[in-house]
Amino acid sequence: MEIIVEGLPEKESQGYVTLINDIMREFEIRRSVEKVYFYGDTENFVFIASIRIKKVLEPLRIEDVATYNPEKEILSVEDEFYVPKILSLLWSFSKEEIEQKDRTEIKIPSEIFNKLKSEIVYYPTEDLKKNVQEAINRILPEAARIKYILSAEKTITVASSENALSDENKKLAHKMHERD
């Protein structure tokens, strides 16, 4: 993960690099983020943060996160994280015949499984983007409540200030959003 801080004096830039690093660690998104740009203009109180994620991950289907045993009619979920999501999906279809046998094992008839195996249980990129948005909110100063948000497939950029954002600031945000 690369962190680029611009517009601030050297010492203050170093402090902000440490702060951004700590925030990324706190949100556990360091490995998913490619670049973080931060621009600060303390005179006019304008701050822009832009985060680019590494790659867009495909949505996960039931068959991607669990293995089905047709003889026992048991669906074994690989990670406990997906169990509530799968159960909620299955129970929205039918509450009968679907039973959680163990923490990660669900009893489900073959015909229902075959019908639902391609259903999406989790959108990793959506989740990551939510975390990225939260991280940006934490990076930006608390008083900078007026926000101009730009969102693309791999990049989220937020320009913020305590005053109204000028067209110039918005243009700068666009420039940072489209930067390599």
């Binding site: 010492k11 303390t42 305590e162």
Partner: protein, 307 residues
């Protein structure tokens, strides 16, 4: 001259240390029992400090001198948002407590930003109830310049903490750089080094306040008043607060409503006079606790002559 010390050790036989402090003419300022551990903050006569150290060693506890014991410090954060809490404000507070002071953490309602930041009269009043105020501000020197009005009118000594290494403002005597906005615990070696500098600056601020008081000394030492109150006021031991009686440099605070307290001290006398003759007793308009501000000798003598 008293030396302030902090003892950390086991609960077993800790009463022996308390008795020794009492026998030597010292005072127990604070006592916290956590399961089988005990923390004692005490004032010990300087010449007998070695005896206390030996006793602490015998009890296999740790004893350190704490420069801030006997003072109450308020740590002021620009807000109570996640940008400022728990790091670094709580880490600062913890380190100050480890140096013997009683700390309060306070978040301003509108302390953030450059243009929009402000402080209310109520907030100022709450801050001034302590002995020293420590402001934990951000990383940008330009923002610090715009926030000077948050601490300029405060009537107690102020220590400002911020990101920039240097910050000069008119009327600001104590500044410590290197502690700006942080999002991780401050427990690295360089953080602790900065904290040590911070404690030395706060000690200077407390000392300044004590020197101001010494120019016209108090009629009774706060530490004596605390002992009289603790020994004679009924129900002090039943107060749920971890520190029922807080020691200040110019008085004490009792965590009891004024009407109850006044009733209980009616018959307490010290040196032939009632407690209310030694100090101004009033209720805090903010927290509802009772505050006792000890009269200075000159004021005491002037009211004595009148009567």
């Amino acid at each position: 001259m008293f030396k302030m010390a902090l003892f950390e050790g086991g609960l077993h036989r800790a009463d022996e240390l308390e008795d020794l402090v009492d026998d030597l003419g010292g005072f127990l300022i604070q006592k916290n029992v956590t399961q089988i551990d005990i923390t004692l903050i005490m004032a010990v006569p300087g010449e007998d400090y070695e005896l206390i150290k030996e006793k602490a060693k015998e009890l296999r506890g740790k004893i350190v001198e704490v420069p801030l014991a006997g003072s109450e410090i308020t740590i002021v954060s620009p807000s109570l948002g996640k940008h400022h809490l728990p790091h670094p404000v709580c880490d600062i507070s913890e380190y100050i407590r480890r140096n013997g002071a009683v700390t309060n953490v306070m978040g301003l309602a509108r302390g953030v930003g450059q243009r929009i930041n402000q402080i209310t009269a109520v907030e100022k009043g709450m801050i001034e109830e302590a002995d020293v105020a420590v402001y934990s501000l951000g990383n940008f020197s330009h923002c610090l310049e715009k926030k000077t009005h948050l601490f300029m009118d405060i009537e107690i000594p102020v220590v400002v903490l911020g990101g920039p290494e240097k910050f000069i403002a008119e009327g600001l005597d104590y500044y410590v750089g290197g502690i700006g906005r942080r999002s991780q615990r401050l427990r690295q070696k360089f953080d602790l080094d900065i904290f040590d500098i911070m404690v030395s600056e706060i000690s200077k601020a407390v000392e300044k306040r004590r020197r101001e008081i010494e120019e016209d000394p108090l009629v009774i030492e706060p530490i004596y008043l605390k002992k009289i109150i603790e020994e004679n006021v009924e129900g002090i031991d039943k107060i749920v607060s971890p520190i029922p009686v807080v020691l200040n440099v110019d008085g004490i605070k009792v965590k009891m409503p004024l009407n109850q307290f006044i009733e209980k001290i009616k018959n307490i006398e010290f040196d032939g006079r009632k407690i209310e003759e030694y100090c101004n007793i009033y209720q805090s308009p903010y927290s509802g606790i009772t505050i006792l501000k000890i009269f200075t000798k000159s004021y005491f003598e002037s009211i004595d002559k009148k009567s």
